[in-house]
Symmetry: C2
Subunit: 343 residues, 2 copies
DNA sequence: TTTTAGCACTCTAAGCATTAGAGTGCTAAG
DNA sequence: CTTAGCACTCTAATGCTTAGAGTGCTAAAA
């Protein structure tokens, strides 16, 4: 890639910045007038024609201004964008929303986070709930409820508590129960949930089966419970915000986007795709492997519990997005989230 | 209200039925041709003019056909509508969706129900999750997790299991804990959750305080936990279905509707409003006290767990809705739901 | 050689007039 | 009381015109 001249950079930056603000194609006159480049519109026109040929700008039709191409946005994000300065109020809003609620459950915190994120950025935002299977087993309990039923409680290091009512067809003395449970705790302690594989469960079952046939039922259900939890919840906020964007004035586009938002499993895949990454990741348009959002930009960041990356928080909107601001907000939110979740 | 002549009834029924299907104003010719009334279009024209004067029909503009007014729909629902006959497949779909999953948690069942409902009716549907506060206390447990923390587990008769990690700043012997917990169980057993008022809790606290100051913390958190749960979840399905309706081709209307769907607390109020009612309730347009949905029809039905009405399931769409079908589907769904939930 | 002013050209979006079609209401005849 | 016929009304679609924004090119200026 040939490097852009300083002048071209300034002009590209001006076009992107203006288009982000106005959502209208930007003409040479506008650039000359509003962005003290110190050149006449004719000169800028020539430069813009060059930038178009190089693929950084596009023209909706011959007699319109230019708009940034996806390549143009990418260049802007990588080289031209000013580091975002959050307004003090925004930073405060975020930390207040998340800070207030120290005693609440993890789910509540996540919901607050997704709300504040969408309301500050004015885009749809989503958070992948902490991945149960990546957290490590801490302890398991079985509470007898009555003669026929018991409650299995499973606790992990990142504050997950899963429970499930199970049928115990034969009644079970409490000492027997205690024995089994402490054996399981001993075997499972410190494993992450996705290390509790079917084969491990089978092994344990064999061990115990000789001694206690009665727990067969409980095991089936424990297995199921683990399987079930593979699907992680994705929380959404501000889904209607896409309606504010002029690029979504077409009902058909709206429908497709909203339909996407209803498919939790797809959202999960999209977010999981960016899970490993450090810091903030920006995927512009077709940089994203998922077809349905190739007209959008997705900006994500990972959050951690106990030093482990357990989930992703993201903002999705049209490629015409205030990158600098959204990145700043997202970074700030993740910082706060990490602090809150690791209390 | 003067009774309608038989002929007027037949014509009104034809107009409503046709408009429900086509979403286009219905002209006298169409009625004469398609609905074997045995009258010419001119006669029907006269009758339709009468029906308009009586308030059952409306005219979008002079040279258009008629559409039913809200009063017209009401008359149709009360007097004209054929009892719905569900197709066998639909009934099967419903019971398969809900039946398959006998072992799942209540939340999962509710989510399945809302999905199947929206996909069969092609409207947005919503279910108010079971009201925690209307179910009765069955038992409470406290599991010590480590020296500093314990897990409070609360179980009710309708299968609710609430849990919360609490801090126990002083360590507590297990016999003391046992004592307190069994005292609480004894006092609370059989009360509904909203009978567990602040004053009752205070009383209990006084009783126990003399003996065990250490549980102070636990109490604060139990109180909180109860307060928190006042807000019941509302589950939504098929929110994008409103986009299929021609009456929502305007982006502004879509925005308002979707914004409504994001306000869980308002949805809750709307559904709660119809909680006491028996069987299926149809609220057409302005019959509904909530302004935001006065262009819509809301059809609701209550479901029960242990003979107690704990929640409501509803379908919302434009007033032009296939009443007979939706009512049939809803009735069938609630039957199935009742059966599944009371296993 | 680079920049700029000027101008012809292109394309869109908005406004306006025209028209086809659907449906009505009224009147007069059956 | 019913119906055929007809004039009338209103909408939605179509085509035409125009204003405006912006471009690309050329030739003059720096």
């Amino acid at each position: 890639m040939t490097a852009l001249s300083d002048r071209k950079k300034r002009i590209l930056a001006a076009v992107v910045a203006d288009y982000i603000q106005t959502a209208e194609p930007v003409g040479s006159r506008t650039v000359a007038r509003s962005y003290r480049i110190g050149l006449s519109s004719a000169t800028i026109r020539n430069e813009m024609a060059d930038l178009e040929e190089m693929g950084y700008l596009e023209q909706p039709h011959t007699s319109a201004g230019r708009i940034p191409s996806q390549k143009g946005y990418r260049y802007y994000v990588d080289h031209l964008m000013a580091a975002s300065e959050l307004g003090g109020d925004e930073e405060e809003t975020i930390s207040r929303y998340l800070g207030l609620e120290k005693m609440r459950e993890i789910e509540q915190i996540i919901i607050s986070a997704v709300r504040v994120l969408s309301s500050i950025t004015n885009h749809t935002s989503m958070i992948m709930g902490p991945q149960f299977k990546k957290s490590t087993f801490r302890q398991m309990r079985i509470l007898p409820l009555d003669e026929q039923r018991g409650l299995v409680v499973l606790i992990t290091d990142s504050g997950f508590i899963k429970n499930k009512v199970i049928d115990l067809y034969q009644s079970l003395s409490s000492s027997e129960l205690h024995q089994v449970v402490s054996y399981l705790n001993q075997k499972l302690f410190g494993l992450t949930i996705d290390q509790v594989t079917a084969s491990l469960i089978n092994e344990l079952k064999r061990d115990l089966f000789r001694r206690l046939e009665i727990l067969e039922q409980a095991f089936i259900l424990l297995e199921e419970s683990l399987k079930e939890e593979q699907q992680v919840r994705v929380f959404l906020g501000g889904t209607t915000n896409i309606l504010n964007q002029p690029e979504f004035k077409d009902v058909e586009k709206i429908r497709r986007m909203l339909a996407l938002f209803e498919q939790e499993s797809l959202l999960f895949k999209i977010l999981e795709n960016n899970l490993g990454e450090e810091d903030v990741v920006v995927k512009i348009g077709r940089e994203n492997p998922f077809e349905d959002i190739q007209e959008c930009t997705l900006i994500t960041a990972a959050y951690k519990i106990n030093q482990k990356t357990l989930g992703t928080v993201g903002v999705i909107g049209p490629t015409r997005m205030d990158y600098s601001r959204v990145i700043g907000v997202l970074r700030c939110l993740v910082d706060n989230l990490n602090r809150t979740l690791n209390l």
